[in-house]
Symmetry: C2
């Protein structure tokens, strides 16, 4: 009977840092599928292969756990985008790289995306977190637009800029949703499409102009 100790060497007793990531993985998965309220701590714990009190011990209450998810996924996404869109590039190049990185992220982390944008909206405790992230995004985009405009000697009111940035971000999020719902779709291609819609705009598109990525896909 004492031999049972080594009979199942399924490595239990993992260090905290590892378990925390497993829990966050499980939480993101369950939250994305069920939504915040419908998700149960029991299911998350089970999915993480651990018992519930451990989740409470490491990540705290359900709300705190959700916020932790939000932070991890949000940071990952922001870093992916910021890392791709170096600020010293020309505007269209930056936009293109940013979009590529963004759609790449969504394609690779569909659950994270769902948590971030489909669940967090709505429930008050998290609306703030989400809004802040979104605001940063909008700010960056607005900054890019402003920069490009000034380069051409033009200038536009702040609100105007913000609204256009909002529209762009919204359009991009919408396509991200589309991508998340079409597993067969190609993130790269989606990014190209968004670039067309954003940079040239519907009006230009109607006249037959087409923006092409600087590095043609292999």
């Amino acid at each position: 009977m004492l031999a049972r100790v080594s009979s199942t060497p399924t490595f239990k007793r993992l260090p905290r840092a590892v378990r925390e990531q497993q829990m966050l993985d499980a939480a993101v998965k369950v939250f994305s599928r069920r939504g915040f309220h419908a998700a149960s701590m029991d299911e998350i714990a089970e999915d993480a292969g651990i018992s519930k009190p451990m989740v409470y011990a490491y990540l705290g209450t359900k709300e705190e756990l959700f916020v932790a998810c939000l932070h991890r996924e949000g940071t990952r996404m922001m870093e992916a985008i910021a890392g791709a869109a170096a600020p010293d590039l020309p505007a269209d190049e930056r936009l293109w790289r940013g979009l590529r990185a963004f759609f790449g992220f969504v394609g690779a982390h569909r659950d994270g995306w769902a948590v971030l944008y489909r669940q967090a909206r709505g429930s008050q405790p998290f609306a703030g977190e989400l809004a802040a992230m979104r605001a940063r995004l909008v700010e960056v985009v607005a900054g890019m637009l402003d920069h490009a405009l000034r380069a051409e000697g033009r200038e536009v009111g702040e609100t105007e800029l913000e609204v256009v940035a909002y529209a762009l971000v919204g359009a991009t999020e919408s396509l991200a949703d589309w991508l998340a719902d079409h597993p067969e779709a190609d993130p790269e291609k989606t990014a190209t499409r968004m670039m067309n819609a954003a940079w040239l705009g519907a009006g230009q598109l109607l006249r037959g102009a087409t923006w092409r990525p600087p590095t043609p896909p292999a």
Copy 2:
């Protein structure tokens, strides 16, 4: 004591149709503030000025109640848009009127908007309803684009069209959110901005072109 009967002539005993609307009003309000799960039937009933069993008697379970909200608000919105954008108008005119009607609706029914787009997304039981509505919208927009393109002798793949329509719808929804969060903002002006972003596109905007509404605001 018996005199109490007429002591408070606060008109109770209203006909069913009236009460149902009051209940739906309350439900939309509470759902939009709390979200589906966090909203309680008790609060909805109280807000409607009626007791809970009446809500069950008239509108059924919580899910059915939510779907009823979705239907009422969705129908209202669709009718507002469809009524404004007659199909025999030129494309840009249709788009403009549709946008005007849409932002007008959101401005006037901020709660309804919140229920429709901020709450319904996420929870599975309603994702279908919402997706269907959205799909109808996307279809309409795609149809408009296709029409305009063919008029200029051009043609574009179906997926391409759908994606652009998605982006447009997404951008519009995003601005609707912005409008819902900025009570001081003017729906009309927001619609004009969206029209600029959509019809002329960022590229055109950068070159200084500006689309102006056919009827200048008073």
